[in-house]
């Protein structure tokens, strides 16, 4: 009997794997196989005419061109645009989402109505909202004329049409910036290790930190000449409109996440803090915000990977061929499917994948680990 049972169970287990198998094969081919193919294409000089198999293998030449080639300044500005977009988008969504969540947690009436309004943009396509905002961000109409409804002067910010660039820096200084960022990270890490009394990793990070500092002070970073001539990049003010729209559309999402987190805090915990003499503000600072920390981390990862991939919204608001608001997602599309430079497009795609993988893979690995501990 037990042998029969075992056999039956075995058969069912095989059946289970067979049911899963088609999906696994599809994912293996369409995700991993295709990524591999894109990676290979990015190492060739394939131009879209003929088969990629007939093209020549040129190693990392496409990547080198993207990061240092004179003609590919647009790609580098698209990275800078993404960088600023990501920062303002994440900060904006998190703070607005937290504000909404805290306000709605005060026992307001019609809470459902407020939630409905703050979250409705999330249900819409970026193409729909982009169409409307394209009109609203017109320099001579739209938002700029809103004050005239209250008999005030109209604004004259040019939005998408703006050509102003602030926070400018020289692309040649990037190695130095990376060095400083690395140094700050190391200082922070060694402090954390030291606080947790993990002496060996603390010492290791300090040593690497000192090496980085010496390298920076001795001018090692300046010796890396990634470009032949100085090249200015910065924050294009044309991105401001796009950032506002993105925050408008996604802030409600963060509100929903935070609200779910706040509602998960047991009332006893709040009560205990109140008994200890904490005011309403202190209840938030001491009890609720610490609990929201992991949610903030997940939210940053979700928003971060959305902003690295942003495509449709800018495509519609600013047009796909607008250099001042270019992002890698659009540049890849235009380079490949409108310019037929498939190899270069593939290289841009791989850079995008790498940026997303850097934040997503650790997230997935930590999720896997915490599940296995359960």
């Amino acid at each position: 009997m037990t042998a029969l049972n075992k056999m039956l169970k075995h058969k069912d287990q095989i059946m289970a794997i067979l049911v899963l198998l088609p999906s696994l094969v599809l994912i293996a081919i369409f995700v991993y196989g295709f990524i591999f193919q894109t990676g290979y294409n990015s190492l060739t000089d394939w131009q879209g005419v003929g088969e990629p198999e007939d093209s020549n293998f040129i190693g990392l030449e496409n990547y080198k061109k993207l990061f240092t080639g004179l003609l590919d300044i647009r790609f580098r500005q698209s990275l800078v645009n993404t960088f600023f977009f990501t920062i303002f988008f994440i900060v904006g969504c998190l703070s607005l989402g937290l504000l909404f969540a805290i306000l709605l947690d005060q026992g307001v009436r019609f809470e459902g109505f407020f939630r409905l309004i703050f979250l409705y943009p999330m249900s819409l396509s970026f193409i729909v909202t982009g169409t409307v905002w394209n009109w609203l961000l017109n320099p001579v109409g739209g938002i700029n004329r809103l004050p005239t409804m209250f008999n005030l002067e109209s604004w004259n910010f040019k939005w998408i049409a703006s050509r102003t660039q602030i926070l400018q820096f020289d692309w040649l200084q990037l190695p130095k910036f990376f060095g400083i960022a690395l140094l700050l990270t190391l200082v922070y890490l060694s402090y954390r290790y030291w606080r947790r009394e993990k002496n060996v990793p603390a010492l290791a990070t300090i040593i690497v930190g000192v090496v980085t500092l010496v390298w920076l002070l001795s001018g090692g970073a300046d010796k890396i000449q990634i470009l032949k001539v100085p090249e200015t990049h910065g924050f294009n003010l044309a991105m401001v409109g796009v950032i506002i729209v993105a925050i408008w559309q996604m802030a409600g999402y963060m509100m929903a996440m935070y609200l779910a987190g706040i509602r998960g805090v047991p009332e006893e915990l709040r009560e205990a803090a109140r008994v200890d003499g904490a005011g309403e503000l202190q209840v938030y600072l001491r009890v609720i915000l610490p609990i929201l920390k992991p949610i903030t981390l997940s939210a940053m990862i979700v928003l971060g990977h959305i902003s690295l991939k942003i495509f449709d919204l800018i495509y519609v608001i600013a047009g796909p061929d607008n250099a001042t608001t270019d992002v890698p997602g659009i540049l890849m599309f235009m380079t490949s499917f409108r310019g037929n430079q498939f190899a270069k497009g593939a290289a841009i795609a791989m850079v995008m994948l790498l940026m997303v993988a850097v934040i997503i893979v650790p997230y997935l690995v930590s999720t896997l680990r915490s599940e296995q501990e359960l």
Binding site: K11, Q13, A16, V19, L20, P22, L26, F30, V31, F34, I35, T38, N41, F100, L103, L104, Q106, F114, I117, F118, L119, Y120, S123, L124, S125, I127, V128, G130, T131, V132, N134, W135, L136, G141, R145, M149, Y253, S298, A299, V302, L308, F311, D312, Y315, V316, P328, G329, M332, S336, F337, G345, A346, I348, A349, M350, M352, V356, V365, L368, S370
Partner: protein, 271 residues
């Protein structure tokens, strides 16, 4: 009403108005006579109401809306069914490395689709599905697998294992447990997944513009983006089109918002 209450409601109402500004604009502009659409009077209410824009937009976009419908229905159903089976296996029939395989699947929902777009484009061209709704359905089913599997797996994990064990003792096998025990209690899971996939696929643009642009099979998002891009266009048309494109997902959101939010949170909260 204390001062604090007034402040809270004040801030909330301020943001409600701010959030509704685009909705106001799209509605009034879509109802204007194109000859009267002027940047200077953009905020004024239409006078008189001009419904012709909707008639024209409907004529223009009807084929694209039909395309979107014939894309979204099969793609949603297939990906929901596959996700349900996958979730059942990954939650209740774990095998060595099943968690690792699940994570490898999940990675597929975070990748920028640009990184698979060129091979996908070539593959669909090779099999003759480029510019075809069927090609888009394939893409949405495959790349929808991670999220549908995730939602169902988490849903089924909550089901007590005892129910499965009881089924096994009664002699039920893999499939009869699914059809007799799991599937009947899967309705909420299906609602969440179907709403999620419906919204995502209806709103999607990158696959659509890459795989159907310029053909007669463009979904509504692509057709709308073509119109909004042109400068000479009468602005009441894209606005009316935007309302038509928004309506299906907006209605789902208004009536089934609770399930929509669950799908939203499933994509972010740990798997």
């Amino acid at each position: 009403m204390t001062k604090k209450r007034i402040l809270i409601y004040g801030i909330l109402i301020f943001f409600v108005l701010l959030f509704l500004v685009p909705a106001y604009m799209v509605v009034i502009t879509s109802l204007k006579n194109p000859l009267q659409i002027d940047l200077k009077t953009a905020w004024n209410l239409p006078h008189p109401f001009h419904l012709q824009g909707f008639v024209e937009a409907w004529e223009k976009f009807r084929p694209n809306i039909i395309n979107s419908i014939s894309l979204v229905i099969p793609a949603t159903i297939i990906s929901a069914l596959l996700g349900s089976l996958n979730g059942y296996v990954l939650a209740k029939w774990k095998f060595p490395a099943s968690n690792l395989i699940f994570m490898l699947m999940l990675f597929g929902m975070f990748i920028p689709y640009q990184s698979i777009l060129i091979p996908l484009f070539r593959f669909l061209k090779d099999v003759g599905l480029y510019g075809n709704i069927l090609g888009l359905i394939v893409a949405h089913v495959v790349y929808g697998l991670p999220i549908t599997t995730l939602i169902f797996r988490n849903y089924y994990t909550e089901i007590p294992t005892e129910m499965i064990e009881a089924g096994k003792i009664d002699g039920a096998g893999f499939f009869s447990i699914y059809t007799n025990i799991i599937f009947p209690i899967s309705v909420p899971g299906f609602v969440v997944v179907i709403i999620w996939q419906f919204t995502q696929i209806w709103n999607e643009f990158l696959f659509a513009v890459t795989l159907t642009s310029g053909t007669k099979n463009e979904p509504i998002t692509v057709a709308l983006s073509n119109l909004a891009g042109g400068r000479a266009v009468q602005w009441n048309l894209p606005m009316a089109g935007a309302i038509m494109a928004a309506l299906p997902t907006l209605l789902v959101y208004l009536f089934l918002g609770r399930y929509f939010i669950r799908g939203l949170l499933a994509g972010s909260v740990k798997g």
